[in-house]
């Protein structure tokens, strides 16, 4: 239970302080990546930050973007991921893995993990957006093929939900 305000609240204050401690790009990158894995996306490790994760993630991204601006030169800014890798190569690898994928649940993980690892400011937006479009297109194709093949009961099992109540 979160008996505190939506906008100004102790959880956001606590994270604002932690974000303030990030002084280098490499620390910021690790921090952002860990945060996304732990607190965001359907694959997240826990829902402790269910109410505030979006705001906090945004604040970390802002900070990392500033650190990136300070540490990278113009060429790197447009062409490299934060870790120094060639952004287009990273994107091409992800798209190739998706092209080869034929299982919708695998494809879903590929797409979500690509976003966790690469969503800007980690990868330059110009490269990220187009790769994300290609990954999303393939994922939608797999998900929408034979859409009604399984009954709801079968689909629940395949998705791996625990049924609490069905009226």
């Amino acid at each position: 239970m979160a008996n505190y305000k939506v906008h100004d609240n102790p959880v956001r204050d606590e994270w604002t302080a932690k974000i303030g401690q990030l002084k280098t790009l490499s620390k910021g990158h690790t921090f952002l990546n860990n945060f996304r894995k732990t607190h965001t996306t359907p694959l997240r490790e826990n829902f402790d930050l269910e109410l505030d994760w979006g705001w906090i993630e945004c604040k970390i991204e802002e900070k990392v973007a500033l650190l990136k601006h300070a540490e990278l030169d113009d060429h790197q800014f447009l062409n490299n991921c934060i870790c120094g890798a060639d952004a287009q190569e990273v994107a091409d690898t992800a798209v190739a893995a998706m092209d080869a994928c034929t299982d919708k649940y695998e494809a879903e993980k590929l797409h979500i993990n690509f976003r966790i690892d690469c969503k800007p400011p980690v990868m330059p937006t110009n490269v990220f957006m187009d790769a994300d479009r290609l990954l999303g297109t393939k994922l939608m194709e797999l998900r929408n093929t034979n859409y009604y093949a399984l009954s709801l009961e079968e689909l629940r099992i395949e998705r791996g939900v625990k049924v609490i109540t069905v009226q």
Partner: protein
């Protein structure tokens, strides 16, 4: 002096396509058709499973000078009537107070739909590759900008010239309190602009416009006029005259993908999901707005629904697309079952949750109750009796210390919110088709109310992450939430929302709500 590349390109283009010197409509049209968008590597920014053919014709026949001339005449007529005639006869104060409240919801919400339609048609412009088809979408973008302004203007007009401005003005500031905004954003925002670009077109043009603008934008003018409102018809009919072209754009979207093999694999699924998405919200909300938000009745919602949604759209319009492999959605039959009771179910919840709104709701008068029973036999036994009990307990009066939400808690009738549509439902009390199903996934519980929505979530769970108000405010006291999220009038203490429209009745304040000590809790925690 060297000319810039842009100036040179424009000069060259004019040399090839000379601008017409007359304003002959056909000549202008031909000239516009000769425009093409050719990119070196033409690709869309947006994902889609479909390939749009690049020789698609548009049916948007009146663009540029003809189009702009027509729209300016329409605007002059509309704003002229509003500012001159209607203001002189004090039209905004002649609207029935119940209907005045309904327009807070309808015009503010439609404005959001129009705003997202701007983005949606921009996205379709980007996705299409046929020049004429791009022209069609681009012109629709202009229309949707016009409609956004028009809807905003209706609320501005009511605010300035009418009765009880609170809620007409600045309604968006209340958007995170209650559930109605979130459901509306699901259909009007997500549905139009997220996911597959063609699926968005199906949501916006094939379902939103071809199916629901008739009951929404046309029927609303009849209900408005019957309730003394001359303002809404003046504006909304002017909007609706643009919609025909938008439906034609939706038709062309289908034509442009008809020969793509993706269409045979995905199109009917996307249509079924789009229809269910749109109807799940609009069927109950429009029915509730018309029948419970008016004093003078036009025709029962179920009849309007059957005529325009089931027969005209599901039968005739979709029938015309049959030659392209489009089938009437399977979910249409389930929607038809819901069209009878779903809006009555929703009213019980909306009235119970009235402090979370941005408008005033009222209990039906005896005369209105008789109308409900006559048109929905069995209504009184179920809904009428509950409403009478609430009234007897003084739910309209702040000194009663009673809001109907307390009745739900006392009688152990939990209210849930459907994860996919964001529409609230009470499985114990609903006569509509909703049934409760709750699943836990990766440590989080999700609630659903129907087969179609549940399947959509099981297939694409990350699309429906929106928290509902029970998750968001669990543990918090109601008046604190209302105060923090701007649900009070300019005096800083009286709620915008009220459970009556009685001019002499007392208005509820934050203190009255605080005295009830209503604390939010998430009903799935008990499961």
């Amino acid at each position: 002096m060297a000319i810039s590349a842009a100036t040179k390109a424009a000069t060259d283009a004019l040399a090839v396509n000379r601008a017409p010197t007359s304003v002959n409509a056909q000549e202008v049209h031909r000239w516009l058709q000769s425009f093409t968008w050719e990119f070196d590597k033409n690709r869309s920014k947006y994902p889609t499973k479909y390939k749009m053919a690049n020789d698609t014709k548009e049916q948007f026949k009146l663009i540029a000078k003809e189009y702009a001339r027509m729209e300016s005449v329409k605007d002059e007529r509309q704003f002229g009537s509003l500012q001159d005639v209607l203001t002189r006869v004090d039209a905004a104060n002649k609207v029935h107070p119940k209907w005045n409240e309904t327009m807070k919801v309808i015009s503010n919400f439609l404005e959001v739909g129009e705003y997202n339609a701007i983005a949606a048609t921009g996205m379709l412009w980007d996705s299409a590759s046929a020049p004429e088809q791009k022209n069609g979408y681009l012109a629709q973008t202009l229309d949707e900008i016009r409609h956004t302004n028009q809807c905003g203007y209706v609320n501005y007009y009511f605010t300035k010239h009418g009765q009880d401005a609170a809620g007409h003005n600045d309604a968006r500031r209340t958007r995170t309190i209650g559930p109605l905004w979130k459901g509306m954003k699901r259909v009007f925002s997500d549905g139009f602009i997220s996911g597959d670009a063609v699926e968005c077109s199906i949501n916006l043009q094939l379902v939103g416009e071809a199916c629901f603008t008739n009951p929404l934008i046309v029927a609303v003018t009849e209900w408005a006029a019957a309730n003394g409102d001359e303002i809404t018809p003046t504006v909304f009919l002017s909007i609706e005259t643009d919609e025909l072209r938008h439906m034609a754009n939706g038709y062309q979207t289908i034509v442009s993908i008809a020969n793509d093999e993706a269409a045979s694999k995905y199109l009917n699924t996307d249509l079924n999901n789009a229809f269910w998405t749109q109807q799940k919200y609009f069927t109950p909300v429009l029915g509730m707005a018309f029948e419970y938000g008016s004093h003078f009745k036009v025709e029962p919602w179920v009849k309007t629904w059957n005529r325009w949604v089931y027969e005209d759209w599901g039968g005739i319009w979709i029938g015309r697309l049959g030659k392209y492999g489009v089938e009437s959605p399977a979910s249409l039959r389930d929607a038809k079952k819901d069209a009878y009771w779903a809006h009555h179910d929703l009213f019980l919840l909306a009235y119970a949750l009235w402090p979370t709104g941005f408008f005033r709701l009222t209990l039906p008068t005896q005369e209105e109750m008789d109308w409900f029973e006559e048109n929905y036999p069995g209504w009184y036994e179920h809904y009428g009796k509950i409403l009478e009990e609430w009234k007897a307990r003084g739910c309209e009066d702040p000194s009663s210390g009673f809001i109907p939400l307390m009745w739900f808690i006392e009688n152990n009738h939990p209210i849930y919110i459907d994860r996919v549509s964001q529409v609230p439902f009470c499985p114990d009390l609903c006569k509509g088709a909703s049934t409760l199903r709750v699943h836990e996934y990766n440590g989080k519980k999700h609630t659903f109310s129907d087969d179609w929505g549940e399947r959509m979530w099981l297939t694409e769970p990350e699309r429906y992450e929106c928290q509902n108000m029970f998750e968001q405010y669990a543990g918090r006291e109601l008046s604190e939430v209302i105060a923090e999220l701007h649900g009070v009038r300019s005096d800083g203490k009286t709620l915008i929302a009220q459970p009556h429209t009685d001019k002499d009745g007392k208005m509820w304040t934050l203190d009255d709500i605080k005295a009830l000590n209503c604390v939010f809790s998430d009903p799935v925690d008990a499961l």
